[in-house]
Each structure stands twice: as C-alpha cells, then as structure tokens.
Symmetry: C2
Subunit: 397 residues, 2 copies
Amino acid sequence: MVEAHLNVAQDAPGTSEADNPRESLVVHFGPDKPLKLDAGVELSPFQIAYKTYGTLNSARSNAVLICHALTGDHHVASVHPVTKKNGWWETMVGPGRPIDTERYFVICANVVGACMGTTGPASTNPKTGKPWGLEFPVITIRDMVRAQAMLLDHLGIGTLFAVAGGSMGGMQVLQWAASYPERVFAALPVACATRHSAQNIAFHEVGRQAIMADPEWRGGRYLIENTNPRRGLAVARMGAHITYLSDAALHRKFGRKFQDRENPTFSFDADFEVESYLRHQGISFVERFDANSYLYLTRAMDYFDLAADYDGILANAFKNSPTRICVVSFTSDWLFPTSESRAIVHALNASGARVSFAEIVTDKGHDAFLLDEPELFAIVRGFLDGAAHARGLKVAP
Amino acid sequence: MVEAHLNVAQDAPGTSEADNPRESLVVHFGPDKPLKLDAGVELSPFQIAYKTYGTLNSARSNAVLICHALTGDHHVASVHPVTKKNGWWETMVGPGRPIDTERYFVICANVVGACMGTTGPASTNPKTGKPWGLEFPVITIRDMVRAQAMLLDHLGIGTLFAVAGGSMGGMQVLQWAASYPERVFAALPVACATRHSAQNIAFHEVGRQAIMADPEWRGGRYLIENTNPRRGLAVARMGAHITYLSDAALHRKFGRKFQDRENPTFSFDADFEVESYLRHQGISFVERFDANSYLYLTRAMDYFDLAADYDGILANAFKNSPTRICVVSFTSDWLFPTSESRAIVHALNASGARVSFAEIVTDKGHDAFLLDEPELFAIVRGFLDGAAHARGLKVAP
C-alpha cells in the first residue's frame, strides 16, 4: 500500500493550509488488498482519492465520513481543481459550519467507479494497459461503502463518529448503517431512499441511452479511440438536472422569460432562459465528468435495494442497530419523495433503532441538500451536537 | 383547391365503411389560400390530411372537431396506417362511444408541422423542390387552429358543435375558444394548460437537444442527405414518455422487476422491465414520426401562452365568450398539473364564461386522457348530452 499525492488536484491559493491540504490524498491498494465486489469479481489493484479537513483527535473518535452524490467528488469544502468553484458542501462543512472542522476530522473519498482519482472505468486496466471502459466491473453502493471501510482501516479509524451524505451519498450512509452498524455512531442520510424507484431507473436509463447513442461513445472505448461522447453526456446531464429541481423552483427562477429579448425568435435558438441554463449545465458538466463513470454510478443507484439483501424486510437491515440515525427529506423533492424517507423511518422504528426525522418544507427540490437551507444546517448541527454529547466528544472551543 | 386521397393512409380491412373511410382525406390550399403564420410569414401552398367519422346533418350543426396531441395524428378511431394499432381515441370516439359517431360528425386533422399528411418540415419546399427541414417556418398552436378553421371553411362548417382534445390537443381547444368563440358551441380541453411551464419547456429542450446531438440529424437535412436521426429521436421519446406517466403508475406496472430473470446481470443490458419498456417506446416511435416534426411541435407547445396575447390577463381571452367549456384534469398528471386547470377555470369564471370543471382522481398520470378511464367517459358524455340538448340537436336513436 502506497500513499501519494494526486497531482491533478491543486487547490486554489487562499484556502486554509491546516484544515485544507492543497492536494488530494491517494491510497493504493495492491494485490494483497483486493476490493471484493457484489458482481462476484475482485478489483485489484485499485486506488482511492480522498480529502480530509480538520484534525483526528488522539482517541480517533471524531471522524466524520462524508459520502458524495452521483456527480460529486471528494472536494467537499475546498476549491474544485477543475471547475475552480467552491466545494460542493462548503456551506455545511468547515470551521464553524454545522459539520465543524474545528471539532471533527472530516474525510471524503471519491467513490469507486467515479473519475476524480479513485479507480473507475477511465482508469487503466492492468491486464490490457489501456482504459477499462466497459470491461470495468459493474459496482454497487455496497461496493463503494466496502472501499470506504478499507480506507478507514488504512487510516486507523475503527468507528466513525458520523457518516453523512445526500442523494447517492445518502444511499451510502444507509448502507454504512446496515453493513457496519458497530462502526457508525451517528448517521445522517439526506434526500435519499432505500431503493431506486421505477421512475428513477427510467430517468437514468434515458441518460445512459443518450450517452450510448452518441457515436463518439464507441462502445465505451472512446478514450482508446480518442473520441469524446460529450454531446450524449450533455443531454444526459440536462435531463437529470431537471429532476434535481422542482417545477416551482424552475418557475420562480426562469418562468417563461425570454433570453436577452422580449419576443420569441421563432427559431430553435435558446429562446427561453431555462433553455440556455440547461444547455450551460450540459456543456459545463462534460468538462469534469467521464461518460462511462456516469453509466456506472447511475447503474449502482438503480441496483440499490437495501431490503432485498434482508429477505425483502427493510427493518431487518437495521436490526439491533446501535447507530443514531437522523433522516432528512425535502417536501418538493420528487426524485426521492418524502414518502420514501418516511418508509426508512418506519423501518428504523420497527427495528427499534434510534431515529429522528426532519421533513423540511422548501420548494427547491432535490438539490435543496446542496443549497443554502438554514433549517437543514440547524438540524445537522443539533443532531451532531446531541450525538457528540452522548459520545463524550469535547465541545468545540 | 383540390381534394385527394392520401395513398399512404390505408386503413385495415374490417373497419366500418360508412363511419370510417378507408383512406385519409387531403385538402390542398393553393396560392390563393395561404396560411398566415404567427412568425410573420405565409405558408403556401400547403395541405391538410384529415379523417371524418359519422355523418354531417343537414343543418351542419353536429360537427365535432378532435385536436390531437404532440405525437398523435388524425387516425382517431380507425386503425393506424403505419402501426396497424387501433385509433388513439377509439375508446372515446365511435358508434355509441362518449363522442358518438352515430350522433356527431367527427373531424380530426393532422396539425400543421406534423408528418402524417399535413404539410410539415418533411414536406417539399416548393422553392427548392427538396424537403423543408429547418427552412420550414416555426409554427404555433394558433397557426394549427387557423389551419383547422380553413379546413372547416372548406367543408362548409360554420360553427362546431364541439371541439375536444387532450394535452397539445387541449391547447388547441383553448385557442379555438379564444380565437373563434362564435364558431365553438362547446369546448372540452383535457389535461392541458394555457401556457407551457418552465419545467415542460426544459423537458422539451432536452428532447430537442437529443435529436440535434445525433450526427445523422445533419442540421435538419437528414432527408436530403439520406440519413436518419433515429437514435436521437428515440432518446427524446424515452425521456418524454416518463413525463406522460406517474411515479405510482410506473411503480405499479414495473416496480423494480427484472426482465426475464431473478437477479441483476451486473451489466448495462435492460435488466429492469421499465428499461426494456422505455427502449421499446423509443424504437417504435421512430418508425412513425419525423424528427424535425418533433422539434416543431414541441416548439409550438413551448410558445403557447394564451394570456400573453391578451395583455397577460387570461380572463380577457374568454371575455364574453358564448362557448360552454368543460375543463378536465387528472390528479396524478405532473406535466399539466390540476393547478393549471384550476387557473383556466378561475379565468373563465372571471370572464363570466359558462364553465364546468372535473378533476379526476387517478394514478395514471398525464396519459390518463388516452386510457380506459370510465369517469372521463361519463363526464364527456354528460357534457356533450347537455350541450346537445341546449343546442337542440336530435337525441341519438
């Protein structure tokens, strides 16, 4: 096992050196440490890119794992090396933030199958010396969590104080609570579900078909053939992006406003503001994301069905769990409706777990978990404060 | 003006000869009868393909115009010449049906911009002798209605007993009531809105981008260059199809059921039933629909904003309207939510119009207007019976 810096991941100047190392960390797992996948094969060798913020205390008891969403990565609270934008959860994680890096040691790892430093379909297949492409094994949410557990072993962290994440990140949080209850003191699944719905699988399938319909995709061999299915990936992103918002949010933000003009052009230009916004979402996404990773991560979400691993009974997934769980949902989230979160809470209640539930009233849709949502911040802060007290963690200075 | 039979439109044997002519009818409008478009240009010459069912009475007072939706056509109640499937509203229109062809003379015309016989982007541009492609002018819902009014003039029908339709068809119904109130005795807009929402424009834009991203689209010149953007069009259809259903309907119909197997394949095959269903929807659609028509008709819907033509005050669109209007919506329709129909009803009330409103409780989503929905049938039958009585139409035998 070798640890190295990932040289692509330069943080911008001006970020705090102590809490915010300038580069991603990378851990390599050699042939002695394969990742056993649900698909029945082993991934080896492989590597995990991650970042940490804050300081691990001497008792190694203040670690918080953040799990990222489909198109996220480990750049949680520091400038993104490609987009140069702020970290995706900088409002939530940092000094004095709800997940306070002056108090907690925060870890976030790029998931297996992704494209920001952790092994994925764009990585080199050791058998061929070329990018994996579709030869990369299909991975699951449980595989992602298994890899994260290996990272924690490597870091010498037995028990997490907390694990938190939204959307696909929330699925990982639930999987953590089910797979390793003894390693998770507190869990915060936000805007997620214990299984992907038929409608969500359908939306993912449209995105995948958009990518695969792009002739530059070349059966997934575009890196070898030096092409780029950017148009298909952009269409996939545009479609998905609509599902992250809400009808009300789109109406408030754009309505039927025309772009830089007062009347329609009677053409197929981006007449409406919402059209140019979507086109921008598509174009900017392809600069930072790998098309095959998009296929693999959407597939992992489709396959997620926590109850299926426990004879179809969700409560069994959390039986005798010592983990404190706080489930958070948003009223206007139609990708992971509040009813799905209620189902989680019912299952947790049925299994006798410690559970609290917060349904936040907002019209911002699924993406509310990434936005400036004071109620969410207050809930996360309060839940972690209570858990820290129960855990006997020193109060922040 | 010449009337001719459209030879592509052969109906299957076994359909009723009297109510159901074997072929589409086509009316050609020559240089003396241009279609004046909202885009500020004239379309000339042009033709309209249509079908009729039932018999026009001697007073010419029993005509019902049916307006079709985005991907529909004039094959309302007889076998479709391409798909060989039943007409798209055969449960609603026919002998003894709610729109009873033993009582009413039913007309349905393929809209301008479409691809089943009426002039559209796949038709020949008289200036070049080649298919129009993107040289075809952008059309609006009002343009479609203007063309229908010209068809009625040609048929010698001054006033329609009723005009009915769902989705884009419902938009045409509303436009009819606003543009030609004196020509419409009763109007039945189903599952529609007076303007397309930002979310709906966004979904349409994704579909258009999917088509335009297909290299075989060739800037809209695929008919000239002998290519076919079938993959882009299939992706567009798949995405749109999700919006026609509901989360609940997809869950009931497919859930997370695997296709012909019990376990996941850990691949990108159509593992889930909902995936193969969607793929089938995409593939079968491209056999019967023109990609450029899809661009034009979605654009027409995007541009639809009835209030905008009346100083932004929807009620003014229906001021002093003599038309009886029955607005129908479905509780699980998230493309045209019930709240949009309520807005129509409020505007009609404010303008003193005769309006009734039926909100049908169903989990079938937007497509409920096309499905076996007994409450819808009862409402349509009741509304037309009442209107027929008021109009003094002879009761059905």
